[in-house]
Amino acid sequence: MGRRGRELDCNGSIRTHRGSRLILALVVLSMVVVLPLGASSTEEQVRQLAAELRCPVCQGLSVADSPSKMANQMKDLIRERLEAGESPEAVKAYFVERYGEWILLAPKKEGFNLLVWVFPFLGLAGGAVVLFVVIRRWQKRPQAAPASVDSAYLEKVRREMAQDQS
């Protein structure tokens, strides 16, 4: 019983390992493919930048997603600055300079902020370790000896059950 359990556990962990690799590959692929593909027309750049900026008068909405007047004015300003020859990074830096990093929907991946990016993975790894340890412990626990049952009593129960079914 214990042996089989371990094999199952082993297969399971291999499968999840493959799964996470696949997901990781997909994430990396999407980053590599999507990022340079965008940034073609100005309008696309405006949309991309607007999607990264927080609409100041909304609750958790990006400038791109908000129909508010403020968001539209910000989109106009982004377009105007891009058309004047500013790089998307410079436009983004302008908004950060005026509103602080708060204006960015995703915090910059540096310094203390890195915790936000690292913690989910640390949490996953920690959870996996805890699961592993707990399962190992369950397996090591001696199996309870079957309770001793009076064989006459057992026979009686079987008979009654057979009667019930018929």
Binding site: V57, Q73, F95, R98, G100
Partner: protein
């Protein structure tokens, strides 16, 4: 082991939650404090032009308001007009920037509160964005060197406004060495 592990995992989460719930999510610290105020030019409702650059050497109160901003803008309107009347002879200027409004509604608002301080619209919201405005009303108090000394979000009270103005008027004039920096902010 368990006796230590449970508090060890629960306490930091509780602390984080406590911190999160105690801070006001509507409060966003401005990165502009103590920085040169972005320059702007207004064409006032009375037809005159006004340039912030021309107000160097004065304490300037820049207020962002709208007629639809009820009740906060209605609460602070008499305060702003009062501060203007009290301090205008002491090198203090109150400037109203009307945002996302119609001219008619703005004029009615100004008439209702008998505004006599300079007010002008912010077409396209450029000035508001330049000042990092995220909610109306917002009030900026600029020192005589054109730096943003204080930002107030929400209806400004007479106490806050006069304390800020008096503080800046008392401050000894500093050598004008950040002039270039100020102009770069334009």
């Amino acid at each position: 082991m368990k006796k230590v592990l449970i508090p060890l995992s629960v306490v930091p989460i509780l602390l984080l939650l406590a911190y999160g719930f105690w801070t006001d999510p509507r409060f966003v610290p401005s990165p502009l404090i103590e920085k040169p105020a972005p320059l702007f030019a207004l064409s006032l409702f009375d037809g005159e032009p006004l340039s912030l650059d021309g107000l160097r050497g004065k304490v300037v109160v820049v207020n962002f308001w709208a007629s639809w901003c009820f009740p906060a803008c209605y609460e602070e309107a008499p305060v702003l007009e009062g501060a203007w009347r009290t301090y205008k002879d002491r090198d203090v200027v109150v400037v109203g920037v009307n945002v996302q409004d119609t001219e008619k509604a703005a004029r009615e608002f100004m008439e209702r509160f008998q505004f006599t301080f300079p007010n002008g619209p912010d077409p396209g919201g450029k000035i508001s964005i330049d000042y990092g405005v995220y909610g109306i009303p917002e009030t900026f108090v600029l020192d005589k060197e054109g730096r943003i000394a204080h930002k107030h979000v929400g209806a400004v009270t007479a106490d806050v406004l006069s304390a800020q103005i008096e503080g800046l008027l008392r401050r000894a004039p500093v050598a004008d060495d950040n002039r270039q920096e100020h102009e770069r902010g334009a």
